[in-house]
Subunit: 518 residues, 2 copies
């Protein structure tokens, strides 16, 4: 990072140097949260209609198994049929009615309002998510159990990364002593580390009350939270294929009643818990999430919900997951298009890699699915940074490098503006007919260098000569230095009195606020 | 790679293992050369029309400087105006007339017909290209001068890489003693290493005759070559902005008369030799290549030519090139869309990285532009593998890893087929209502595992546990081993008698056919 200096109005290299080092007004940044995508449509209109029709057939003919008793009441009350086989079947007319009622725009507030997210249309946002059980040591290749401290550190890093727009817990706090301590400290570490919007899950419905106490304490009361719910519930309410997750359904009901936005998450795995043909995997995911839309809107019409079709991919040679595959990128992009078809805010997973380390494979696997998700106009791109080994490992270095990757992806999503002004050939004329024969010093070049172009923070663009002169810096070393730099500072996001209040009221896993000599 | 074994008809893991190890018929491969893209359109129809109109304005109002005398005759003979300022101005009616005459389908034959390439519609192909002056040592980070042997080795590797469809020389043979020796041995090393289609350039027009002697000797005569021109001329006939390259124009005329397909290449650099706004950079590139279309079709109507809009990007902070940027990906994708608009076979550059080594940055930078180029339906994606340091360095390890990346990219370009059959919910029904509750052993899963899914050769998909058990293999080590394995074998593509004939007739730089103990 360069130190901001005063821009000068002269041309040439000095002016370029000055221009690049001046801080950018937010409005002139080359990328921003919510850039509209949608220039890429993996499916034709006929194909979208076919997926939709098949999903409706599946809900009518196969239906969903294992709704909890409360869910059976809610769903049959709304017009679903409970079969003798215990399955809830949902008529297409009811789905249509609930799609009408469903929220078309969802705001995900953040504790710091500058990070609020508006989900609508084709607005694209990137963030973390996942349940990695390990931290990857990028130096030794060691995989060790992830902890609450790691989650806090990841949150603190995300707070500093402009191109990561929300923080859903990407890793599991394996040092928590029980399920409640896990849910509770996941929330605590996330909220303590970042003021961006938080997504979290609850293992058991009975954990919700205790966690809401923490949330309300941070919000300054229940009403304050309901007015700006800065925590949403990522809810795997379905265990594919076509089966409700009873416990999570109870969490879902509680979260809706507590005023939390919900992510209705169906995470089937094509070839294992979802059909192997990519098209049918999308059909099943859509059917399952439509069941969730009916469920939520039957409880509370228009409740903020995200259409969370997250079909994953199996490597069919082994049956294990492959998050980094091209098939994964296609599934996610196709789901984004289904969200657009329904006009509902949607989210899916991209940016995962099967690579164990932040290497070249990690780069191409993370990038392909992220850029396709963005170009397809996915509102919420989950898992977009830091996730390795098919979601089993999280890497801090990969997280900070991924911020550069996401900046580039967002630049691509923004696209090329072709206006009357910027297709004017006047500058070409003056350069070619009267001018110097090149555009380097042109006023236009200087004017747009910060708004039209994005510059990476860690990715290296120097020439081989400069690179050798600087001792051939290794990308991962730069990433480690950046991680160290951020974690050596106190980025705690609770004021001292709130922190004291929380420590007095709750059983918190202690967090180290400054890492020295990392 | 697995040894092919006989497939068995039983279900479960054994059958999956058997199915994956059986060799695939070409027709059932998950990806293939010429997969149609075009699902992604970076520009709206209005925007495309605006670019086209501005390019026509530029040709009429600015025109092209410095045509060679022969070119002035050809172009004014066709209806262009030579101004008092020495510039050739091209009326839009003439452009329209020449677009009519231009070849809409171009076949790029290969010495081995199985590698023939058909350029039409949105068919996508990936290959090498460039003029790297260094070879990157991925172990030490050293950049050393590239040689004829390196070019031969790269060609031999490409011969083995399914997802790399053509070979244009990616690096400069810096051991050649003069310009003729350079052009000649570039051709010789390329042809000796691969039977895929070869793209090459000629520094001086007078080199063409001597090089054609080699080409005709390999073809078995001039007529045989004209019937199946397996070498095309990559021709930088323009020095942006809006200026002909006199020497290259003479090469162009010679190549057209020799029956060689030509790549009409405009390689401006936005912010330096092209306008800084991305839209205007596209306008200028389109204008320049349209001038080339007029030129070629004035000599020989319908001559096979590729619309080679290759606008590059400057990092405006330094003025140096950034091939790995998101802006580059956008420029290339926008050009692909202009090719579609004209209905002409087109090519552009993608897959370049600014990274000095095959690291995570290299992965994301190469992948983003390659996948966007493919999804935009670019017929010829040049520079798509192996190019580092903004085109200054070439890496063999990156080349073999890039083959995996390109396989994944091609899988994404292929997209999701949504047919009546694969949206049938019958398999879902049988699994959910009567079956095992998962799809792992389903007949459908086994049937499509090789046609619907692509598996990487070098990218690692093992679990952290397996990976640790295997000693934490490093991706670059696997790539080095693959390079060694290929180069330790004799992959020379000339029969002994042809080789003897060439050695007797020409001054060839000697090539080592087998590397031992690399």
């Amino acid at each position: 990072m360069e130190t901001p200096r005063k821009a000068r109005r002269s041309g040439g290299r000095a002016a370029r140097v000055a221009a690049r080092t001046a801080p950018l007004e937010a409005a002139k940044r080359p990328v921003w949260p919510g850039i509209p995508g949608g220039q890429y449509s993996p499916l034709s209109e006929t194909e979208v209609a076919r997926v939709h029709a098949a999903a409706l057939d599946a809900l009518e003919q196969i239906g969903m198994a294992k709704a909890p008793p409360s869910g059976v009441d809610i769903l049959t009350g709304a017009g679903c049929a409970l079969g003798l086989d215990g399955r809830i079947r949902i008529p297409r007319t009811l789905v249509a009615e609930m799609l009408e009622k469903a929220a078309k725009t969802v705001i995900l507030p953040a504790r710091d309002p500058q990070f609020d997210i508006e989900l609508s249309g084709r607005r694209v946002h990137f963030g973390t998510a996942g349940a990695a059980v390990s931290i990857v040591d990028s130096q030794t290749g060691a995989y060790r159990d992830s902890t609450t401290q790691d989650l806090y550190d990841a949150a603190r890093l995300v707070q500093t990364l402009d191109n990561v727009h929300f923080f859903q817990r990407p890793l599991v706090c394996r040092d928590a002593k029980d399920n409640f301590a896990l849910d509770f400290n996941t929330l605590y570490a996330s909220l303590a580390g970042t003021t961006k919007h938080i997504g979290t899950s609850f293992i058991e419905a009975e954990n919700l009350d205790g966690c809401l106490k923490l949330i309300h304490a941070v919000a300054g009361g229940q009403e304050a939270f309901r007015a700006r719910p800065f925590v949403s519930n990522t809810n795997t309410f379905v265990v594919p294929p076509m089966t409700f997750a009873e416990e999570s359904c109870q969490v879902l009901e509680g979260a809706v009643r507590a005023g939390m936005p919900v992510l209705l998450l169906s995470a089937g795995q094509a070839g294992a818990t979802a059909p192997a043909p990519l098209a049918t995997a999308v059909v099943q995911a859509v059917a399952e999430v439509l069941a969730g839309v009916v469920y939520v809107n039957a409880i509370s019409p228009g409740h903020p919900a995200i259409f969370g079709t997250w079909p994953f991919v199996s490597d069919l040679r082994t049956g294990s997951m492959s998050g980094g595959s091209g098939e994964q990128a296609l599934l996610t992009a196709a789901c984004a298009q289904m969200h657009r078809f329904y006009g509902l805010p949607g989210g899916a997973a991209a940016g995962m890699t099967d690579a164990k380390l932040p290497d070249m494979q990690a780069g191409w696997e993370q990038a392909i699915s992220n850029v396709m998700a963005g170009l397809a106009g996915l509102n919420m791109v989950y898992e977009s940074v830091g996730m390795h080994a098919s979601l089993l490992g999280f890497s801090m270095e990969s997280l900070v490098l991924g911020n550069d990757m996401l900046g580039q992806v967002q630049r691509c999503v923004r696209g090329i503006e072709v206006t009357e002004e910027n297709t004017s050939i006047e500058v070409m004329k003056s350069v070619c007919l009267d001018g110097p024969g090149h555009y380097l010093g042109a006023e236009q070049t200087l004017r747009i260098m910060q708004s039209e172009y994005i510059y990476p923070a860690l990715a290296n663009r120097s020439s081989p000569k400069e690179w050798v002169e600087k001792g051939r810096p290794i990308l991962l070393d730069s990433a480690r230095a950046r991680v160290r730099e951020v974690l050596a500072q106190d980025g705690h996001q609770f004021a001292p009195d709130l922190q004291a209040q929380l420590e007095a009221a709750f059983d918190l896993i202690p967090l180290k606020r400054i890492h020295e000599g990392l």
